[in-house]
Symmetry: C2
Subunit: 412 residues, 2 copies
C-alpha cells in the first residue's frame, strides 16, 4: 500500500520480563508516551488499531484486548479494531491505520502492539506459539521437523506439540542447516549476527538483554536446536509499543516540522510459490513492492529493522532485501557492514534477538526505532544522516512461507 | 463510516453443531458459496478481512486463522487481516473491508466470519467466553453479578469464572430484571421474542433450531438465569459466513444489476457514559450516526437483524433503534409488528436465538440475511418490497457498555 501518513509520536516500554505487570499497564505506558511525544490529548484520537498475538492463550484476554487497555486509560467511544497476524500483528495494525489515514478516512489515529508472554505457568507460554501455525495440520508439521532433524543428524529442540516455542526454533534450525549446505554459511557467521545485535542492544536502554557478547561467547552458549545456540534465538518477553499516525492536514495543524513519513507498507500472506514464480516468497514480494512504491532501491536505505527471530533469519533476509548477492549474507555480517557505523546498519535496536520479541509488539517497536533514527534522536545508536528506514516483519508459518509478511518504509 | 461499497456475493454454512468439522472446512464452504454467488474466481480477490473471536481459546488456532483457511483453499499472497471484536468480530471485518473499497484502495475483497465453539471438552467452550470481558477485572465483575442476583432474590446461572457463558447470561438477566422494574416489561414479552424468532428460524434452513415454539413453551423451559429460560438465551454453535465486497467500478465490470449497497457502517467502543451525555451508550451512538450517514430514519427501515444474544436484548434494542418509545419494546413485540408480515420485521433469520450464534460469524451472517432479503430471494422469509436493512451487533462487555458495537445499513 502506497502511503502518505505521518508519524506524530512514538512510545514503547522496556521489553523483557514484567511478571508483575499486565497488558493494561504495559499498553497504557506505551500509548501515553506516544501521545506525549505527539503532544496530543487522548480525546484527539479518532480510531485505534490494536495488534496482539498471544494474549488469548496466555492471559485469557481475547476479543476486546484493545478496548480493555484503552478504556482503562479513559479512551472510549472511538472505533477499536483488534488485529492479529502473529509476529506481524502490530505491523498489520500500523498498515491498516496508515492506509485509512492516507485515504482520508481519519486524521489522527493510534496503532499499538502489546504482548504479555511471561506467565508463572511456562507451559502456557510455550503452547501459545502453536497458535501461529495451521493447528489442524500440526501433527504433520511436527513429523516433518522430526524427519528433517534425524536426516541431518542434528539435535532438535522440540519433542512434541507441547513445546511449540522450540518447534519454531526447529523450523529456523532446519532452514539454517539448508543455508549452510547451499551457500557454505557457517555457525560463526550466525554467531556474528547475535554478537552484532548484542552490541546494539547494549546501547539500547529498552532492550531485554544489555550484555555485549563476542562471537566466541555466542557459540559457547547451550545448543537449542543445531546449529542455534541460545543467543541465536529470540527470547520470550513482555512489552508494548505505540505510534500516533496523522494526515498531512493534521500535521500542519499541529505544526509538526518535517515529521517522519510512512511512504509504503506492504502486507502479504504466504503461498505455494514454485520455481518460475516472479517472487520467491512473501518476503520477496513485499520488499520488491515496497521498493517500487517508495521509488527506492536497497542502495537508498539508511538502516533496516528486520525480523531476526533467529540469527540465521537475519542472514537470509539480507539477500532478499538486496543488501548482498544471493547466499552471501554470512559474508556481509562478518564484513561489519550491518553493524552501527557500517554501510547499512541492521537492527540497531538490538533486534528481536537482544531488544526482545514480545510478539504482538514487535512490528511497532521496529517503527519506533526507525522513527527515532530518522529524527536523529537515537543517541548512542544514531545512524548518521539517516533518511530512509525499512522494517521487515514476518509472522507465523504456513506451508513453506510466512503466513503474514509486512514491509514498511519510512522516510524523512 | 459513510460507505459506497457493493455486495457482489454472499454465503454461509448452516449454523449449529459441527463436531466433525473444523474452521477450515466451515470457512471454505462459506467463502466458496460467496465467490460462486458473485461469479468470481478465487484469484480475483485482492484482500481479506477475517473475523473470529474464540478459536484461540478453543482450538488453539490463533494469529493466522484467516491465512490457514484461505491457503487451505488455494488463496495466497493477498493481504489477510485477522480481526477480533468479540460478537462484533465479523461486523468489524466487513466495516474495514467496505471502508477500504469505498476509499478506492481495493476493488474486490472478502469479509469473512468464522467460529468453532463446539468442543468435546465443554469447559473449553465456556471458558472462552471469559475472553470477551476485561480479564484483569474479572473477579470484580463476578462479585457484582453475585451481589445483584442476591439483592433481587433471583436465581443466578454462574458460580465462578469457569462458567463464563452463564456469566454473560447473568449480565443479560440482570439487565432484564432492571427493565421489568423500570418499564413493567414481563417474562411473557421476553418469551414472545423467542417465540417470534423461532417462527422465523422455522423457515430458515440454515438455522440451528428449526422448531417453532409458543410463548407458553418458551416459559416452560428450564430457567438459566431468572427471568431467562433456555430459549431466551442464544445457543453455542459453529459456523461461517462470507461476503464479496466490490467497488462501483468493479460492479460495472462484472455487469451486476442493481446490487445491494452498503451505505453506512458505524463501529464504536463503549465508554463511561453518564446522564447528560448526548448518547446513552455505544448502541445509541452507532445507530444515530448510521441513520445520519444513510440519511434515513427508523421509519425507512424494511427490516432489522439485531443482536438478540438474549431475548431481553432484542426488546431493549427496539427503542434504541427508534422502533418504539422508550421502554415500550415489550408492547411492540406482543403487537406482532416485528414478526414477518408486521410493520418492521426483526430477525427474520431467526436471530442469534434460533439461527444460532457462532460468535465471530454472526456479524456477516446478519448481512447475508439482509442481502438476500433486499435481493428478494429470501423465500418463505421474504419481507415484501424490502429496500433498506439494518444490522446491529454488539460484542463483549466493558464497564456498563458493549466493548465493540457495530451498526450497518444496506440498501437496494
Amino acid at each position: 500500500m502506497k502511503l502518505n501518513a505521518l508519524i506524530a509520536g512514538v512510545g514503547m516500554t522496556r521489553f523483557g520480563k514484567h511478571l508483575d505487570r499486565g497488558m493494561k499497564s504495559l499498553g497504557e505506558e506505551a500509548i501515553t508516551m506516544a501521545l506525549n511525544d505527539a503532544g496530543v490529548e487522548k480525546s484527539a484520537i479518532q480510531a485505534a488499531w490494536m495488534g496482539n498475538a498471544a494474549a488469548g492463550l496466555i492471559t485469557g484476554q481475547e476479543c476486546i484486548g484493545g478496548q480493555v487497555i484503552l478504556r482503562g486509560m479513559g479512551i472510549g467511544a472511538i472505533p477499536v479494531i483488534n488485529v492479529e497476524n502473529a509476529c506481524a500483528s502490530s505491523s498489520t495494525a500500523f498498515e491498516q491505520a496508515a492506509a485509512m489515514v492516507t485515504a482520508g478516512l481519519y486524521d489522527i489515529v493510534l496503532a499499538v502492539g502489546t504482548e504479555k508472554l511471561y506467565h508463572v505457568d511456562k507451559v502456557k507460554t510455550f503452547s501459545a506459539f502453536g497458535g501461529a501455525v495451521d493447528v489442524e495440520g500440526l501433527a504433520e508439521i511436527m513429523a516433518d521437523l522430526k524427519r528433517n532433524a534425524e536426516a541431518s543428524g542434528a539435535t532438535a529442540a522440540s519433542d512434541g506439540a507441547g513445546k511449540n516455542r522450540s518447534m519454531f526454533m526447529d523450523i529456523y534450525a532446519s532452514g539454517a542447516r539448508a543455508h549452510m549446505e547451499a551457500y557454505g554459511t557457517t555457525a560463526e557467521q550466525f554467531a556474528a549476527v547475535s554478537a552484532k545485535n548484542s552490541f546494539h542492544g547494549h546501547l539500547n536502554e529498552r532492550a531485554q538483554f544489555r550484555e555485549e557478547l563476542t562471537v566466541e561467547e555466542v557459540l559457547a552458549q547451550p545448543m537449542i536446536a543445531e546449529p542455534l545456540t541460545r543467543p541465536m534465538c529470540s527470547p520470550i518477553g513482555d512489552g508494548a509499543a505505540a505510534v500516533v499516525v496523522v494526515s498531512e492536514k493534521k500535521a500542519r495543524e499541529m505544526g509538526l516540522v518535517n515529521p517522519v513519513k510512512a511512504v509504503s507498507s506492504v502486507l502479504r500472506s504466504g503461498w505455494d510459490h514454485a520455481k518460475g514464480d516472479k517472487y520467491s516468497g512473501s518476503a520477496d514480494l513485499c520488499i520488491s513492492t515496497a521498493y517500487e512504491e517508495a521509488a527506492i532501491g536497497p542502495e537508498d536505505l539508511s538502516l533496516v529493522e528486520l525480523h531476526d527471530a533467529s540469527a540465521p533469519s537475519e542472514i537470509m533476509t539480507y539477500d532478499t532485501l538486496g543488501l548482498c548477492a544471493k547466499g552471501e549474507g554470512g559474508i556481509l555480517v562478518e564484513s561489519g557492514a550491518t553493524k552501527l557505523g557500517g554501510k547499512i546498519p541492521v537492527n540497531t535496536s538490538g533486534g528481536l534477538l537482544r531488544k526482545g520479541h514480545p510478539i504482538g509488539a514487535t512490528g511497532i517497536a521496529q517503527l519506533v526505532e526507525l522513527t527515532e533514527q530518522l529524527r536523529g534522536t537515537a543517541g548512542a545508536r544514531q545512524v548518521e544522516g539517516a533518511k530512509v528506514g525499512l522494517a521487515h516483519n514476518g509472522g507465523g508459518v504456513i506451508g513453506n512461507d510466512a503466513a503474514a509478511m509486512c514491509v514498511t518504509i519510512l522516510t524523512r
